[in-house]
Amino acid sequence: MATLHAFANPARFLKLARPLTPTLFWAGVALTLIGAWAGLTQTPRDYLQGETVRILYIHVPTAWLGMGGWSGIAVSSVMFLVWRHPLAMIAARAIALPGAMFAGLCLITGAIWGRPTWGTYWQWDGRLTSMLLLFFVYLGFMALDRADRDRGGDGRIPALYGLGGTALLPVIRYSVVWWNTLHQGESIGLTKSSIDPSILWPLWLTLSGFTLFFAGIVLMRMRTILAVTKAEARMRRMAA
């Protein structure tokens, strides 16, 4: 915790974030491009799905970041509520938009895959519905956060909302285990995977690439928010 408190000072955070932002961003873009190239040209097709299987290299990372983004918001909310860490709500606010974007991309790529595979773009099954809910929960967080700032709130209400939304994460994760769903069960576990290694390997490239890209975007947005706050404070001082 001591190390995190060192970053309570935004200047120290910015000193680290400045070189880290482009590094993470471009490393992420490079890994994603290599992964996409490998996934489109270097892997065999699936015995049942044919070429459609390749959307996996995009769909899985977007699902991972859609859910990972909300975990980030939840952790930030706890950091804010408990330790009043000044960067915590800035981090949560920075995560919300890219998180929502990836949750949305997950739904879109899933629909594109679902049409040829299942024979339908959309069905109200447990996994699909809970992921759609997460997308709406993101939008709710952004609206609530904006409203809270407009009325001069300290961010406590969006932080509580950020904590509450976490209830969805186990629902999404276990929806395919607990309910009969159209969506298939978990393919990739911590130790084993039911995807053949010859098909799986580019996924690790796109997964790490998307994640680094996401981290770079979040740092970029945090720096922007800090800069805007600073500029507004200066304007206020000049007006006074």
Binding site: V82, G119, T120, T166, V171
Partner: protein, 144 residues
């Protein structure tokens, strides 16, 4: 320091409560939120007659029969516990095949069979290239 610890306890309790809420919601919705009935559910709980429902399971091996009218097919859905004969008229998705997952939308008949108006192929979590799938198929046939 004390206030901080109090907040930490409250926040941890909050997280635990929220996660528990999610898990409780999952188990409470277990029956209602299921996307389809499995043949075993129907055997256990009786036929959901007069309602538009979904039936899901595996298409039994060598059970697909094309009917003389050219557009209807008959097949058997199984989940290892029970089986349900299905009649479907229309275009089946590409991935619809024997020993593969299927979700049929339609109505149960009084005799325990199912009349489907739409078929969805259910993909499982296994992904593999055709060569490997072929090999596995071969070894299996050799064993059988």
């Amino acid at each position: 320091m004390k206030a901080k610890h109090q907040r930490l306890t409250l926040a941890l309790l909050g997280v635990a409560a929220v996660i528990a809420a999610g898990v409780l919601a999952l188990s409470a919705l277990k029956d209602q939120a299921s996307f389809f009935y499995a043949p075993g559910d129907v055997k256990k709980d009786g036929l959901p007659l007069g309602r538009f429902v979904r039936l899901g399971g595996m298409v039994a091996d060598k059970s697909i029969v094309k009917l003389p009218d050219g557009v209807s097919i008959r097949f058997v859905v199984t989940d290892g516990v029970a089986t349900v004969p299905v009649l479907f008229k229309g275009i089946a998705p590409d991935l619809f095949r024997e020993k593969s997952g299927v979700v049929a939308e339609g109505e149960f008949q009084r005799d325990g069979s199912f009349t489907a108006s739409n078929l969805l192929a259910k993909h499982d979590e296994k992904y593999m290239p055709p060569e490997i799938a072929g090999k596995m198929h071969e070894t299996k046939t050799l064993k059988e």
